[in-house]
Amino acid sequence: MKALLALEDGRTFACRSFTGSGEAGGEAVFNTSMTGYQEILTDPSYYGQMVTMTYPLIGNYGISPEDVESGRVQVAAFIVKEYQDFPSNFRSRGTLADYLIKNHVLGVEDLDTRALTRHIRKSGAMRAVISTSDLNPESLVAKARQVPSMAGSDLVQHVTTKKPYFWKYNQPDYVPVETLSNAFVWRHRGKKHSVVAIDFGIKYNIIRCLENAGCEVLTVPSKTSADVIKALLPDGIFLSNGPGDPEPLTYAVDTIRQLLGSVPVFGICLGMQLLGLAMGGKTLKIKFGHRGANQPVKNLATGKVEITSQNHGFAVDLDSLKDKSSALSHINLNEASLEGISDDTLRAFAVQYHPEASPGPHDAAYLFNQFAKVMTHAKA
């Protein structure tokens, strides 16, 4: 079915839907990972975004129930060069098209994704609309300009969990909200580190990695207050990734400020931006973001380079933390942007990239063990 993608700056791209009719709006971004489309589709950080994969052939290995990073498809729409309707992989349980249709997400193909990517690189990530019903460029561009802007909106409320949950049998095991005020809620107290993960849009694999590092993770809604969290007497607090702009999330920054120093804190992606804000730094929107699985990050402590998985459109302004230069732990090798912060006295550290990978390389997986170690030290 014919479709059209319109960008807010007036450029349009012809394409075809492979998921039937529909119309969707969001911010158009690109991801350079060559594998992991299902993880990307279900990553809550992509909420409100239309993702184009730079790798042209997508759908090759189908869809598998194990490869989800949240309970549903999160992207606003999915844009590929050539959709593959004949998946081949021993784990595949269905096609990408069926999966998107079931999740009511529009998928388009036959689009010059490299041209789109180059355009975004030059002009920045921007609002866009894809439609199979409105193929008029002018009206569609107008619609694109109506799409709410990312900056300034709290997108976290669309993706955070409504109810707290533990992690059991590789999926959420929900508990009633009222149990939260009870420090006896932990099931493995003493044997595992009790970690409260504040869910701004957490990826399941973060929970898996924490569990593998010897943590029992209780994931809580984003607006859970500092008092409630403190009452749980956690050994550590994890600040998750999530979609959009950190600045409107003042409630989260306040909570983090109140928690800082009490127990070790570890943050990833949006979690780092919130930690940065809580530490007095500033955040900014970057032109077209980092989305892919090949970003080199230098660990300033060891001098070694990690190849990292990334997905962010906002970042902590390096200059805003200049006076706390001891706090800088990782930088991006490509453009010297801030990739990690660490404060020993607060026992808090965070990274802008995704050590849980999924998709992407496992080079930074050591950070989960590092978090466990900090918690062990804190207890001693």
Binding site: F13, A14, F30, T32, S33, M34, T35, G36, Q38, E39, T54, Y55, P56, L57, N60, Y61, S64, E66, D67, K81, E82, Q84, F86, P87, S88, N89, F90, R91, D112, T113, R114, A115, T117, R118, R121, G292, A293, N294, Q295, P296, K298, G303, K304, V305, I307, L333, N334, A357, S358, P359, G360, P361, H362
Partner: protein, 1074 residues
């Protein structure tokens, strides 16, 4: 950490001659390494015996030793040069083995030389299967159940434990020589034997078969700070069981989810760390069970490889260059990424296109060999194609192969449906072979379901489905016929269909399709290979075509010239032509003209992103080239350097209005067309062997009678002496005439008087239209009748009368003038009975240009390019022939050890894959060097076996006498022995194979023979000779199949006995020419 400053002089070991499994990818990686290290201010010393390489140009390294790549040479060069370090990881298995052997002598310790790139320990750990298995177990990785055997008792014992089928892999070999699959004990005995023979340490591994598993390769790089990155993942279309060099491969991996890919990535990193490759690139191969994802490590190469060359071209990431920089101390985060200019080499390339590599086989050259692909590599070259979809890249790859196909069939060359049914079809699907892809197509045409195709081929259903989509599209186009709607045409182009295919399906001409298409605005766009999927701006213009909306080609308004490359390597057309293309590019740069390279061969220097100002990685077909010309609008196109491939395009391109510079296509035709050529010879008063044309056997008979036997019979319009035979009498004529007709149906058969026992010479010349200068004259060691590509030759000539030399030079000048040659020209002369004959004229770059250029120290291809741009030879300062005071010997390297059952006898059809050069002041020593470099182990004592045809007996006598005088024992078959005894040369008689045992082959096996001279006609009655020659190959005993060849070996042995061979850099030799 920055560059080390404790080392200053680095010795790089090259790969030697082009052989199957070790081709010009090592010229590419070696050249990159030399350039990178020179750039860093190191003094670079190089050993490589292959003159056809850019690597051995005197400008590439400071001191270039064109000497045999052997431990002995390495030791001598170390003594002479006192390098601080030796880099052995860029010259393939040959360089690694040479370093390992030399290390055993203690030379590195003695001279305080450090091995950089990989330690001896790491090399051993990766290459020795027992050590490798232990290492893998240590890091929790599985390798196939296996056991080692050193003899047959052990083979049986291990086989019992593993069960059948199993795979035999010899330790320490290249390309899996001698390996194979065995389904039963009988087969195992055979395969195990050849495996034990092939292994340098007489050890084989018997391995659990993972036939049918999916095969993947990852290219890994590590620096000494332990940063590790994966450059590229490659998925083999062919399942396990086919050597990866013989597999169609795709980058990146297509059918792995991220979870499965990361398992392989983690494993690769663990492996490079455990093996201990401190710096540089490695290649890790995995087998993955398609049923459950189980992973098995197949092997690891602790060096750059054919796959790393492919990965470099596929991603734009220059693995060899970076490996060289890492070896001298840099870390990955300190080296910039040349392609983007703004990011660092410490990252993992992301690609936004699909790359398909397809091997090029030459089974037609070896009709006795079975066209079956196994774990021993047989292809001689490869082509790579880039597209935005697999389908597009796959079809581009197929039409780049130079096998006459325009894509995935649909080109009028598909076999007829009823001729490919039933068991024949199933056999060709289930037994991997060079034509299997096309059989898949036939099966799809027959509507064979993908599930069944998968069961027969074990090719992943994903790939089979892609192929099915192509067949479906073909059916749709055919159905639409002449009224092809735009949508469908556009989709067909996106699927990679060529105009030629569409023309065939719609019964239009290619030209009509192109016109129609262009009217509809359907032209390709060019996208960049940029390592980063457009995330960063790329500065290096490396392009491929596709049918999409945005074109990224940055067309300049500079004066520019397009060079058409040679496409995939094959026998008859190899690295020599790439060498010429690269020189053309260098010359253009020097002249301030923009150089644009078009080629489809990933192994080459020409397709390095910084060889030319622009690189179009595209098929060399009329359609694809014309598109580039239309985009770039060049001042001229050079067709005379890339061998036959661009020449075949010349006339068509010219007709389409493309400016061809240099010698005109008409002149090239004039030299190839029989009648025009005859007329020219008559006009210039030159003599050519009597000849005629035959359209039928009766005509052939008449022509042969007229000119007299022996005659040379050959088909017209073929390459490399394909199906060319020498016919001695009428009884053979009919059969060979038939062969010639089969090789080129509907074309006349050419019959020439064969100049028996004539001297043959190759002459390369350069001309600007006015001045013609002889580049070099090469006297063939073998008499006429051996293809010039297979014949050893000497520059300057050593036994030719000066007046003949003068006569040939005059003839060359006259021909050049007559043909208005602007550029290079090659002529073959024969001299018989004091008469000079012109055998062949080719007004274009020849295979010998690099050899001659190295010999005389003048870059002929570069000068020729400058001439094409309008310079005169006078302006360029090259007006005098250079005749060196030393001898340069070129020897061909044959692939007979790769093909079972093939008679290793030389003839008019070219069979060699590569060449080496031996240089010395003394002719014998130069021959000795060439023989050693070509892999012959020349004996200084022992027994020479002589068995010659009656006609060769007279000529063999003095040779036998000399061997006897030098203290060799002569062994001969009865007839020859009697003849020798008669002439006072003592000879021990030995039985022919057909005369009962023990016979001569037993003597070979018992190591009682050290050298073999065996001449034999090619007719099948010569079974005995065949057995002897095959045994010689198997047991690596030097052999000659011509008397002249034996005479050369004799002179070489004499030289060896006189004094040890010396080593000297080419730069020193060249100084003597002034």
């Amino acid at each position: 950490m920055p560059k080390r400053n404790d080392i200053h002089k680095i010795l790089i070991i090259g790969a030697g001659p082009i052989i199957i499994s070790q081709a010009c990818e090592f010229d590419y990686s070696g050249t990159q390494a030399c350039k990178a290290l020179k750039e860093e201010g190191f003094e670079v010393v190089l050993i490589n015996s292959n003159p056809a390489t850019i690597m051995t140009d005197p400008e590439t390294a400071d001191r270039v030793y064109i000497e045999p790549v052997t431990p002995d040479t390495l030791c001598k060069v170390i003594k002479a040069e006192r390098p601080d370090a030796v880099l052995p990881t860029l010259g393939g298995q040959t360089a690694l083995n040479t370093a390992i052997e030399a290390a055993k002598t203690g030379i590195f310790e003695e001279y305080g030389v450090e091995l950089i790139g990989a330690s001896i320990e790491a090399i051993h750990k990766a290459e020795d299967r027992e050590l490798f298995r232990d290492a893998m177990n240590k890091i929790g990785l599985r390798i196939p159940k296996s056991g080692f055997a050193h003899n047959f008792a052990e083979v049986e014992e291990v086989a019992k434990k593993i069960g059948f089928p199993l795979i035999v892999r010899p330790s320490f070999t290249l390309g899996g020589t001698g390996g194979g699959v065995a389904y039963n004990m009988e087969e195992l005995n055979r395969v195990a034997k050849s495996g034990l023979d092939a292994s340098l340490i007489s050890q084989i591994q018997l391995e659990e078969s993972v036939l049918g598993w999916k095969e993947y390769e990852l290219e890994v790089m590590r620096d000494h700070a332990d940063n590790v990155v994966i450059i590229c993942s490659i998925e083999n279309v062919d399942a396990m069981g086919v050597h990866t060099g013989d597999s169609i491969t795709v980058a990146p991996a297509q059918t792995l989810s991220d979870k499965e890919y990361q398992v392989l990535r983690d494993a690769s990193i663990a492996i490079i760390r455990e093996i201990g490759v401190d710096t540089g690139g490695s290649n890790v191969q995995f087998a993955v069970n398609p049923e459950n994802g189980d992973v098995i490590v197949v092997e690891m190469n602790p060096r750059v490889s054919r796959s790393s060359a492919l990965a470099s071209k596929a991603t734009g990431f220059p693995i060899a260059k970076i490996a060289a920089k890492l070896a001298v101390g840099y870390t990955l985060d300190e080296i910039p990424n040349d392609i983007t200019g703004e990011t660092m080499a410490c990252f993992e390339p992301s690609i936004d296109y699909c790359v398909v590599k397809i091997p090029r086989w030459t089974f037609e050259k070896f009709p006795e060999a079975k066209d079956v692909l196994t774990t021993a590599m047989k292809s001689v070259g490869e082509t790579m194609a880039i597209g935005r979809t697999f389908k597009e890249a796959f079809q581009k790859g197929l039409r780049s192969l130079e096998i006459g196909r325009a894509g995935f069939g649909a080109d009028g060359r598909d076999l007829l449906p009823d001729s490919v049914a039933g068991t024949d079809l199933e056999y060709h699907l289930s037994t991997p072979n060079s034509q299997r892809l096309f059989y898949i197509k036939y099966a799809l045409k027959h509507n064979m379901p993908i599930t069944m195709l998968y069961e027969l081929t074990h090719i992943d259903p994903w790939f089979l489905h892609q192929m099915k989509q192509l067949v479906d599209m073909e059916n749709q186009i055919k159905l639409a016929g002449k009224n092809l709607p735009k949508d469908l045409l556009e989709k067909a182009k996106k699927y990679g269909f060529s105009d030629r295919q569409i023309a065939h399906l719609t019964h239009l001409t290619e030209k009509q399709v192109a016109q129609e298409r262009k009217l509809l605005g359907l032209v390709p766009v060019y996208k960049l290979v940029d390592t980063c999927a457009a995330e960063f701006r790329a500065v290096t213009p490396y392009y491929y075509s596709t049918y999409e909306t945005e074109c990224e080609a940055r067309v300049s308004d500079r004066k520019k010239v397009i060079i058409l490359g040679g496409g995939p390597n094959r026998i008859g057309q190899g690295i020599e032509f790439d060498y010429c293309c690269v020189h053309a590019s260098f010359a253009l740069k020097e002249e301030g003209v923009e150089s644009i390279m078009v080629n489809s061969n990933p192994e080459t220097v020409s397709t390095d992103y910084d060889t030319s100002d622009k690189l179009y990685f595209e098929p060399l077909t009329h359609e694809d080239v014309l598109h580039i010309v239309e985009k770039e609008k060049p001042f001229g196109v050079i067709v005379q350097f890339g061998g036959q491939t661009p020449l075949n395009l010349a006339t068509g391109l010219q007709k389409a209005g493309v400016p061809i510079i240099g010698t005109s296509p008409e002149s090239i035709d004039r030299a190839e067309d029989r009648d025009l050529f005859q007329a020219m010879m008559d006009k210039l008063g030159l003599r050519q062997p009597e000849n005629g044309i035959a359209h039928s056997y009766e005509e052939a008979l008449a022509v042969a009678r007229e000119i007299g036997y022996p005659v040379m019979v050959r088909p017209s319009f073929v390459l490399g002496g394909r199906a060319m035979k020498i016919v001695y009498d009428e009884s053979d004529l009919e059969a060979f005439f038939e062969l010639a007709v089969q090789a080129s149906p509907d074309k006349p058969v050419l019959i020439d008087k064969f100049l028996e026992e004539a001297f043959e010479l190759d002459v390369d010349a350069i001309s600007d239209g006015e001045t013609t200068v002889i580049g070099g004259m090469m006297e063939h060691i073998e008499e006429a009748g051996i293809h010039s590509g297979d014949s050893a030759c000497v520059l300057p000539p050593y036994s030719i009368d000066p007046h003949h030399i003068e006569e040939m030079a005059d003839a060359a000048r006259a021909i050049a003038k007559e043909l208005r040659v602007k550029g290079l020209m090659n002529i073959q002369f024969g001299i018989m009975n004091d008469t000079v004959y012109v055998i062949e004229v080719n007004p274009r770059a020849s295979r010998t240009i690099p050899f001659v250029s190295k010999a005389i120290g003048v870059p002929l291809a570069k000068l020729a390019t400058q001439v094409m741009l309008g310079k005169t030879l006078k302006e360029l300062g090259f007006t005098q022939q250079v005749i060196p005071p030393y001898y340069c010997v070129k020897e061909a390297v044959m692939p007979f050890d790769r093909f079972e059952n093939v008679d290793p006898v030389l003839g008019p059809e070219m069979k060699s894959t590569g060449e080496v050069m031996g240089i010395d002041m003394d002719l014998g020593a130069a021959v000795a060097k060439s023989q050693i470099a070509a892999g012959q182990k020349l004996p200084e004592t022992g027994t020479v076996f002589i068995s010659v045809q009656d006609k060769d007996k007279e000529a063999a006598l003095p040779v036998a006498k000399d061997f006897h005088d030098m203290g060799f024992t002569i062994m001969a078959t009865r007839g020859t022995a009697a003849f020798l005894e008669e002439h006072q040369v003592p000879a021990t008689p030995v039985k022919k194979v057909s005369a009962g045992r023990p016979h001569v082959v037993d003597a070979v096996k018992n190591k009682e023979i050290q050298l073999i001279l065996n001449t034999g006609a090619t007719s099948q009655t010569q079974r005995d000779g065949y057995e002897i020659r095959r045994a010689a190959i198997k047991y690596k005993i030097p052999y000659a199949t011509t008397t002249d060849g034996t005479r050369a070996i004799l002179s070489a042995i004499k030289a060896l006995k006189k004094e040890p061979l010396s080593v000297k850099p080419i730069q020193e030799y060249h100084k003597q020419n002034v």
